[in-house]
């Protein structure tokens, strides 16, 4: 019984991490129809910036609780800097080209950023572990969990609910939904699509960085940490349906629980359980769980 509970709680915690990591990717794809491979390096940049800013904060003796704020701040900064840089600096010249060409462009950006990180921060690993242990741990039902895990859960929930609220309740959000459905038509109707692209990409970058920033206290911040994240994020997004917010949430939940179950009961399949889930979902729902209907072609 305890085993089951622990599996579920572990699963939910991992799912919340997956959701934060994947939601930026699905948002950018939904609006701009670009699969942003650089997402992985934005995640890494978030982690590195968090390590630097957090390390600076803590090193100067400021209140340790503020380090959480530093984590959030570093994510925001990464988004605000890298978003416009990549979108305005490169992508906007390539709109209208094949989806695959844009994919390769973001892949190139990923490669460049991976080395840029090495050049800026060096190849040694960084660490910013203090925020992780700061709030101690909590016991329930015979299990012990660090409070930090629930901070992660909170971040994930806030992100998801926040995005959903913005999309469905605000005017800007509804305009964004229009752009998601048909960017050409939206432009014709007067919606300033380029501005939405910029905002979306920036927010997406920020979300990737949030994933990295809040992961940093849990792991060793090393070069190449973004590489595996891309495939994980992609798998979650494909399961849920490219561009779907609730798809990303449900996909993350499914993958998280399955992975947790495999870790607890069948460790050999842990590494690729996510891809198995993806293949299985695609067998029954070729475009993912929540996919948009396709218009008649002829």
């Amino acid at each position: 019984m305890v085993e089951l509970l622990s599996t579920v709680v572990d699963g939910i915690i991992y799912s919340s991490w997956l959701f934060v990591v994947a939601v930026g990717l699905t948002l950018i794809y939904g609006v701009m129809k670009i699969l942003n491979i650089a997402h992985g390096s934005l995640y890494a940049l978030g982690a590195y910036s968090a390590a630097s800013l957090g390390g600076f904060w803590l090193g100067h003796g400021y209140p340790p609780l503020g380090s959480y704020g530093m984590l959030a701040l570093s994510a925001v900064l990464v988004g605000l800097v890298m978003g416009p840089l990549i979108e305005r600096g490169l992508l906007r010249f390539m709109y209208g080209k094949d989806e695959i060409v844009l994919l390769l462009a973001t892949y190139s950006v990923f490669l460049i950023l991976e080395d840029a990180i090495k050049l800026i921060w060096g190849v040694d690993s960084l660490s910013i572990a203090e925020p992780y242990g700061l709030l101690g741990s909590v016991d329930f039902a015979g299990l012990t969990y660090p409070v930090y895990s629930f901070i992660l859960l909170a971040v994930s929930a806030v992100t998801g609910i926040g995005l959903a609220w913005v999309l469905q309740r605000t005017r800007q959000g509804k305009l964004l939904i229009a752009v998601i459905h048909d960017s050409e038509m939206s432009a014709v109707m007067g919606i300033r699509v380029p501005r939405f692209y910029l905002i979306t990409f920036t927010v997406g970058a920020m979300l990737a960085a949030v994933g990295g920033a809040f992961t940093a206290p849990m792991v060793s911040v090393v070069p190449g940490m973004g590489v595996e994240v891309i495939v994980l994020a992609f798998a979650v997004v494909v399961i849920g349906g490219l561009g779907s917010l609730k798809g990303a949430a449900l996909g993350a939940l499914m993958v998280g629980l399955v992975r947790s179950a495999s870790v607890h009961f069948l460790p050999q399949v842990e590494l690729f359980s996510i891809y198995l889930v993806m293949v299985l979902v695609l067998l029954f729902r070729p475009k993912g769980l929540f996919s948009s209907a396709e218009a008649r072609k002829i």
Binding site: L111, D115, V279
Partner: protein
């Protein structure tokens, strides 16, 4: 007089020269060329898919499988004949592609790219966790032999090199002829307008399935050859970044000719050895920047530079 196919000339001349010069070339050149040929096979398969409008980010799956099949044949069944190893690599990959193709051939664009990537990551995960195959360390491929004869190391290197050159000739020519065949010439049509292809009576899914299997066989062949040349194989061959490198070389080479993948592969390996030695921490940056330049300024790949030059002359 019937005009000789320029591709035939482009294949025969350099390969004949290489074979003739082989015994006099330094070992590292033989190594480099053989390695480039191995990777060139993978790129040739990717080129076939690219002409059909598809990009696979998971050829590493078949590349790795081919290598492990060849290695496995050697270790488990004591087979070391160079031809058998190559064929087993290609066959294993083709078989897997045949099975996976039923699912994968239904997809296009990003889904096709990412689904293929997912499968390669599944293999990676499997291999890393399999102690019998050396986990993440992999294992060594036994020395290949030619018709039962086990040669000295330098001669073996030349032998593999020669076999690679000969294989290149036949394989590249076969792919060239395939592209001119009715099924092969469907590629640009599928890339352009699938609907029209279906409404003229051809099955797009069937065509893609076939090309997927051919590309896989080529990748498996390349993996087996690379495994033999390097002597060691590991799961990294299936990691998605390996597949990404193959995609890069394909974009670099373009789809203009069956010779392009081998040339592009050679250039890539040369640049990689120098760039990596000079500054290992900027190698990826060099790769990324070059790819961007090629995508933006040379969408048809580097081969288009040669092709247009020929037309003007």
């Amino acid at each position: 007089m019937k005009r000789i196919d320029p591709t035939l000339m482009a294949l025969i001349l350099p390969l004949a020269m290489l074979l003739a010069a082989g015994p006099f070339l330094p070992q590292w050149v033989l190594f480099l060329v053989t390695l480039s040929i191995g990777k060139g096979f993978v790129v040739l398969g990717l080129m076939l898919l690219l002409r059909t409008g598809l990009v696979s980010f998971g050829q590493g799956l078949f590349y790795c499988l081919g290598a492990y099949a060849a290695g496995g044949m050697g270790t488990a069944f004591d087979v070391s004949d160079v031809f058998l190893l190559l064929v087993s690599g290609a066959a294993a990959a083709a078989l897997l592609a045949f099975v996976l193709g039923f699912l994968v051939a239904k997809y296009r664009d990003i889904f096709f790219a990412m689904l293929s990537m997912a499968f390669s990551m599944i293999l990676y995960g499997l291999l890393v966790k399999t102690a019998a195959l050396g986990s993440s360390d992999g294992f060594n491929v036994p020395v290949p032999t030619l018709f039962e004869a086990k040669l000295a190391e330098a001669s073996t290197r030349y032998m593999v090199f020669a076999v690679a050159c000969v294989a290149t000739f036949f394989v590249a020519l076969a792919v060239h002829w395939y592209q001119k065949s009715p099924l092969g010439s469907l590629s640009p049509a599928i890339k352009d307008n699938e609907l029209r292809v279906e409404y003229m009576g051809a099955s797009v899914r069937h065509a893609i399935h076939v090309k997927f299997v051919i590309a896989a066989a080529l990748a498996g062949l390349g993996g087996a050859l690379t495994g033999m040349t390097v002597g060691h194989i590991d799961p990294e061959m299936a990691y998605w970044t390996t597949s990404g490198e193959f995609v890069f070389v394909t974009i670099l080479s373009g789809t203009g000719s069956v010779v392009a993948p081998f040339l592009g592969s050679l250039i890539f390996e040369l640049i990689r050895s120098y760039a990596y030695e000079y500054s290992p921490n900027t190698w990826q940056m060099v790769l990324g920047t070059s790819m961007l330049i090629v995508i933006v300024f040379l969408p048809a790949g580097m081969w288009s530079v040669f092709a247009s030059r020929r037309k003007r002359a």
